[in-house]
Point group: D2
Chain length 428, copies 4
């Protein structure tokens, strides 16, 4: 993601160096805090190619600061290790030849202790940079710093997703943390909320932090539409399963049906039937499924098939954003500590932020007028704009300070290890 | 594709039974005419899974009439062979278990002669149906008949694409027909044509034949934009190749770069360098490449990378349709007999129809308010609305009577055996 | 296979040119005779990579004579087509880059008619060579000629195996010929025939035609052993199937069990259960299985698992050869026209030649003192001496004049499209 | 491997319980001693499917004692963990469904500490069993114990092979231990040692410990032959590489050539060319290659191609055993601590034991009269008797007390991560 526009540079200058340092330390500390429950062995493994070992996340986020901030801006900076450049580059081909992603879990070295030393080395240097950078350069440095911190927050969420997957495929089914017993309230009843449509404006305004894929702000023509007042629940999704949902090709997109049959999918990821009832893996270990919680860990294909079976459809991303535009970014996000979706409460449009990411009907494409930045930051978002789908709203593992109504997350339609569910839409 | 709306049933009734029969015979005859240059052996082979043997196309189009028209509407109809239902079903899962697509080329039986007998059997029955159907049912039968004829025309184009591929992978490089020597005029110089944008209406009106994916007609908000006056030429694309286009990851979408490296692509499909100059396979055999012809047989990834390298972009499908809205459907289409793209002539917006299909920037998605029909016709288009991209405008192998300005063709972004090229766009 | 030893050159000279020509014409004619029942389409297809299209066999055997006999020995010989050298080279890497074997079925050209013209061209040239070669060279030419004819006979058997496979995977299950109804006699009861073992001599003597892999003749130490008097029958093998043979890993070699599970094998190739009884595909089409016929189309893994289940073992190849040493080469071979195994008749050691190839317990390895010939003929047999198993005795599709007691056939342990069955052994 | 014959039970009884316990503790301790240089992370990873994580080896060898000794013989034995039965079963299908081998490296749990607790638990129980078992049962228990200890020694060698591979694929190329600098003596010059052949007896006698695949002892007829006095050196193998050995198909077995081309092999495993000289990975890290050391980490295909290129051949396993029959089991084995092959010294037949395993020309097949034991021990060796090749003589990572002249090691012909090299043979 390229830096924000020049125009708000001055506003940022008013944030003192102290506040930047505090923000940096807070986010960096959170990544390490997240790892406290892990054994050394847990830092190393990679259950499937799309998952990365926790120690890789810790190192890669440091590499990001080292490569994009310290090397260009901190004079005399000494890189920590000459081979970490390739080892911890994720996919920036303008910066070298990344170590192959599916092989991240076969590297026992560097050890976890070395990775923490790498973090300390980078942290000290970033602190030095914040203190020593010329006032004239501070705005530019702050932009990259802010990007690096948002990047690190994305990897905090990825780390939790990945630990969950690594633990779920282990026959011992270890727990990441001791989760509080759910209070098991009923989900609020489903209602429909109407929106008038029309020519609306979506996307991030030019001020304030946002990723480049949220810009430019632009007009979209919408017909009138309705959104469900809450997310689809486990109970509702189980009805689809019982009704033969995974055995009826007419409900599925063609590529979805191929995916279902090739992978022998019979239910959402992590669902297991034991003695006639559904259980599922959570970050707190195996638990009997709460019927009122939002369904989680479904792919786009499953979300779409469920909507077809329901006689409804998925929301468009502009529809979703228009509905969310006035809402406060609050809900069951990472900050609550639950790390698991919870039943909807209250009336009106609920669960727009948090619990689970919501699949939208749209492919992940550039907004009109979008241009990729030059250099490595142009690889941050733009090059993924094919074959993926947009998700909105954040999940119970997304830090609140990382989210916005205009935020566009994206995954392949077959991906389901992220905390993803769905909300139904209807009309026009 | 579901039948058109009830409202234009009466208009269709005015077409006499004779005119329907004549139209039927004309299209069906064209499929057989197309196959005249083939040896028996050419009807059988399948070079790659996405290609089908010519005899399969001839049988499948007959199966379509048999299954969707004769079985439900012609009383006493006797199906030709009990196993053809599965053998020649392409992908209609509501109609049985189709024979696996990648294995179509391992079937020596039924023989070509048997397939032609199958066609005759179906043709006689359709003629009988047209003659004998109640006036009250004629409108409905005519809708399915019209759909079947458009379906057959799609397969005429596919058959030519497939024969070209089957011949191109053969080291003997046989020619399908004796193509006239190109006159080799220069391509018209590139100019830019401006469009004002605004809230425009796209999609097929409710009257007249169109596929369901072209409906409903709806509003779209467009910023001002410009389109290139003609298609990108071989010469222009060769400059991209010479400039290292296929070796520079920064120009490519991430999935595109994976495709390039995994398949070792170095140029468009069918290009071969011989003694320092480019040759390519055509339906007339191997020919030295004409630099002024539109580039053909490029994937979406290549089209997008070329546009990035050019500092431009691909047109959106709404932009393309808006520009094409007032134009006559005319150009270097199948009916010219060239079966190969030709250099642009004249001034103004050229080559909008014919020569090569134009990749647009858009994923193939339902228009707002689109609903899949129930039953097998719901599988015609709707279930393919994931992971594919829209192409517009038709090619030199597309029958003119098959095309419209609202026509949406679609292929996977890695596909390139269809006659596909690109036109550049710019703005907003 | 390298030419025989110099020592018998004189013996061969006594065969007149006329007799060589007659022998050549007889074998070559038989290949074409075999193809009479085929439609043009049947010549083209390749159901799996190890099967070749019939037209490929017809062309490859001609290529063998052209490349190894005509090019080096017939002055002024004009090759038929410059690209046939690579197209019809099977695996002789010293002679160029063979066209990829799994892709032989995607070539519609050359047509079948062109392949027959190729054969005529080669036949005329070979006739000319036989007539015109110097007496001094005749011995050497005759050696290659004899090798080429045995090579062609191998391909006659392969052609029948391949046609059977091509027809068997076709849902229409076409028949190759009209097979006479089986007389359905009972199989002779199983008896055991004892052999004393000791230090015996096996392998082909230095005189007369034999492949290089049958030489040199050498000593082997054998313990006393017994052989079953006849082949294992369908009935006996069905008992293994009913007893859960394909679901019990303890009966299988480790690689065999992997093969069974990965391919979901549940019975021999071509077996199909219909309404509770076994049917199988034959060259005469689908037929109810005769329980008394020898089991056919089993892999080495299945043969070995059956033997383990029976508490017996497979014969060693030296054991088999010692037992066959004094027998006449006669039985249900190609020459009977049955093209299908038949129940054992009579007393004593039966079915040693014909019906089905018998898997032996031995890997295909060089005899002590074996040396590969230099040049392309060194690639005929020697380079396949890894990972394959020896079969002995010939099958109902093997020409009688092609077989010997010392003949070593070989296939991979998972192969089962050849006509292969087994005979049990016991002791020491 | 099944227990030895009843006949030597009495001899074993003379070994006191104390001596069995001491032997058990010595071998078990060695496995843990071997792991001292490892970081926790090194215990977890699996670079390729055929390699296992060190913690898996430590657990699996304990599982072997638990399952085959403690469960059946120690009354009241409480298994350590109910799921370890499947997790640490390697391939004994009669004992349950083993966890998939290629996925051993994705399990972070049990932790290394838990695995060591598992070992202690088992060790205490085995000690208790040795102390408490009835005298009448001691012989039988001792047989299984002895098998378990040989099994553990096999895994000690595997563990070193696997750590080497895990470290070699890591771009940081960590060292397992600090190896002493090689003294770099020249290899002894190559001489040929003659053997008369004849009918010889090979295989293990019925007394004393041996694996079942070494029995029964039996006669083999051998022609006269010669063996090279020492192993092939790096220098000699490098000459093959320089001579285009990896680019000349005529030198290779057909399956070998496929392996070479599919894997782009250009030299033995672990060889790397840096600035024009060869380096290779060792357990002491990357080192410049010593030209006089035996070549190591070659597959059967490479060994065979080298022999062909040399105009020689590989020894038969009977030839090798006959030559080794009178020799003392001594050489550069694990006990020297070198863990790397060293140049040959002295005159006469050298390096028969130790340095590298020697590929023989023979497939791994049962000796005449071999019968698999019933139950899980029947799976130890017998089921692998297809598609593998025999190696003889042990390597620098093989414990001396584990080896015998009759010992038959076996690997697939493409395997090369074991310490394998070759000795040339000649004649008859």
């Amino acid at each position: 993601m390229p830096p924000g526009e020049q125009t708000d540079a001055e506003a940022r200058l008013t944030l003192s160096r102290e506040r930047w340092l505090a923000r940096y330390e807070e986010v960096r500390h959170e990544s390490e805090h997240l790892c406290r429950p892990l054994a050394i062995e847990d830092y190393v493994v990679q259950s499937v190619p799309e998952v990365s070992p926790p120690k890789w996340h810790l190192a890669h986020t440091s590499w990001f600061f080292e490569t994009l901030l310290l090397e260009p801006f901190l004079q005399g900076y000494r890189i920590f290790h000459p081979q970490f450049g390739d080892l911890f580059n994720s996919y920036y081909r303008t910066l070298g030849e990344p170590f192959p992603r599916p092989r991240r879990g076969v590297l026992s070295r560097p050890t976890v202790a070395e990775v923490y030393r790498y973090r300390s080395h980078v942290d000290a240097a970033v602190a030095e940079l914040i203190e020593s950078v010329d006032s004239g350069d501070l705005a530019y440095v702050a932009e990259r710093l802010e990007l690096g911190l948002h990047h690190e927050q994305q990897h905090q969420e990825l780390l939790l997703m990945d630990v969950k997957h690594n633990f779920a495929i282990n026959p011992l089914r270890p727990a990441y943390h001791e989760a509080p017993e759910p209070a098991a309230p009923e989900a609020a009843p489903l209602a429909w909320v109407d929106f008038p449509g029309g020519v609306v404006t979506i996307g991030a305004a030019s001020e304030g932090f946002a990723y480049d894929n949220e810009r430019p702000r632009h007009e979209v023509a919408l017909a009138p539409y309705r959104l469900a007042s809450r997310l689809v629940t486990n109970d509702e999704f189980a009805a689809f399963v019982e009704d033969g949902g995974y055995r009826r090709p007419e409900l599925w997109l063609a590529d979805g049906w191929t995916t279902v049959t090739e992978n022998a999918w019979q239910a959402p990821l992590y669902w297991e039937r034991r003695d006639g009832t559904w259980w599922h893996m959570t970050l707190g270990g195996m638990r009997a499924m709460d019927p009122h919680e939002p369904v989680c860990h479904v792919s786009y294909y499953e979300a779409d098939a469920f909507a077809t079976w329901s006689g409804k459809r998925l929301p468009g991303e502009a529809e979703w954003e228009q509905a969310a535009a006035g809402l406060r970014v609050a809900g069951n996000l990472y900050d609550t500590g639950w790390l698991h979706p919870r039943p909807a409460k209250g009336e009106g449009l609920a669960q727009m932020f948090g619990d689970v990411w919501e699949w939208t009907a749209n492919s992940y494409e550039p907004y009109p007028g979008y241009r990729r930045a030059a250099g490595p930051l142009g690889e941050y978002n733009g090059k993924f704009m094919s074959n993926q789908r947009v998700l909105r709203g954040g999940a119970c593992v997304t830090p609140a300070s990382h989210l916005r109504a205009t935020y566009r997350n994206f995954f392949y339609p077959h991906d389901r290890w992220q905390f993803a569910g769905l909300r139904l839409a209807d009309g026009p």
